[in-house]
Amino acid sequence: MTPVCLSHFTASSCLGCGLDATLTALRAQRGGLAPCRFEGAGDLVTYVGEVPQLDDCALPSRLTEYECRNNRLALLGLQQDGFSGAVEQACARYGRGRVGVLLGTSTAGMLQAEQAYARRTPNTGALPDDFIYRTTHNSYSLAAFVRAYFHLAGPAMVVSTACSSSAKVFASAARLLAAGIIDAAIVGGVDSLCLTTLYGFNSLELLSPEPCRPFDSDRKGLSIGEAAAFVLLERPPASLDADTVLLLGTGESSDAYHMSSPHPDGRGAALAMAAALRSAGLQAADIDYINLHGTATPSNDAAEGQAVTALFGSRTPASSVKGATGHTLGAAGGLEAVISALALQYGFLPGGINTLHLDPAIPIRYLSTNSAMAPRRVMSNSFGFGGTNCSLVLGRAL
């Protein structure tokens, strides 16, 4: 593919709001998971990665119809690291009809519907009048909110492919840029805690009773988190700073195997990684670090390990940040692309936390401590329910 430039980016998660807080936590190998106190889910024995300042975030009065936890998290994310200013500059350069919005989410404002059902009118079963489906519950509400926030008039959509959602938006945006339909894209993802995902993963017995431990021989499942990650994608300028991060390749595939379990050999995952390398015109040996999907469920890590060893052997340093951030589901691809970009810009490899005993059955080169090695090119993996896989290759400009 023709490389595109990550001209501005930001991320907010349980590690904190914005890049400084994220970087500080990663450098200190400090996680943000805490025992689940989420309203209505107090009976679940698990840890979650909740974004703390979320209740204080109020939408602008002209956008109150979008009021829900997911859009509050989106706004909080947009306000960090001068991201909104960068979007405004892009609008000034290209026009508001030439800036696309392509965002990933798995549940959008589903929490709003869950709460509305709890407030049904006893006799009729009707939902309360203050529940607005279009701007909160519907999957598109996230992209609609961001489009309305910036008064944009360009193409927009939500990709909702479970946990690969906000990785796949990078591929879609790169295609729209290549086709000349847009000149810039706001990509990334926002997913927020809700009962559907907490009780859903609980029903599959995939929630870890302790902070999740990716690739540990004693891993007990995942910890759910929430996050907002935004990236402004543009065609690269004529001259690039060495620190500029480029999207070099994208690879997508399907398992065609099972709705909620990965192919045990990781065949779909390996196809996505191989396609991303091909798209970037690179070999496996050109990749300095793999940001693993690494959810810490027994089957996911085993399948991903198979796929990684099939392509990379045991040579390439790899880690999952989900021990620190939790699995942020539809926001994970975006969040981990931003963390990969930080690794490229600041010259370090983030070690995964909570992993005490590496699973000897998975012979990858898993990093449990930070490494001072400065990567030039990294791969970020995102896989999801329905057998959906997406890998991104990011690299420094020089």
Binding site: M157, V159, A162, R175, R267, G384
Partner: protein, 271 residues
Amino acid sequence: MASPTTIILNAWIDGIGLLGPGLDHWAEARPILAGATDYAPRPVVVPPPVVLPPPERRRVGLAAKVALAVAQEAITTAHVDATQLAAVFSSSGADGDNCDALCRVLASDDRHISPTRFHNSVHNAAAGYWGIASGAMTPATALCAYDGSFGAGLLEALTQVAVDGVGTLLVTYEAPYPEPLHAKRPHPAAFGLALVLMPQPGPHSLAALHVEVTQTPFDRLPDANLEALRLQIPSARGLPLLRLLAQGRAGQVILEYLDPLSLTVDVLPCS
């Protein structure tokens, strides 16, 4: 900035799948859409998902059944190998029955939901079932753009065809929500529309498409009942394109997308 190298969004339609009230299959619906036969709405009969293995057949919901039915029809009429096509699924609401069932349980005293309910709740459930049914390990995505979901799906599919040079199956579909969500989002019926879009013309190509994103006012359908369908169901926003294809003539159609944008589609039938 490097100057954009604009790629023309061209594709060839090789297959069509259609299912809606009074619109069973493309071949049967064609004279209705062309205006040669009157449109008579009647309840949709969704065929069983015979393409799925028995365990998945038992678990799949109505919305995914609609998606699978039109996807299979489009593949069959195109005479293509589904494992070679990328897939774009686009829906505003996906599985409304499942969403309602989940919300009811989560609002009750016992919030334990079934694993099947949970995996059917993902917006890409239809794409996942299609992968299992077809064996395609190719890229598949699942989009939502509310009432613009047809336009968003068409745009995504066309960029895959034109930029990546791969044949792409576009599946747009909707199923009605039960009450109480129906009062908030009143889709009147199940509806599905699928297209097989190819980067090169072939022996089964029906028409060539050229698409541009414009701000031209969109077309409406002359039949009042069909126009009501177009307005009420996001995937039926593609019906004006099918009407022009049904008429078998060259022409232009303006599809509703996202305010203020439309998709201007030039159609040239393949003899």
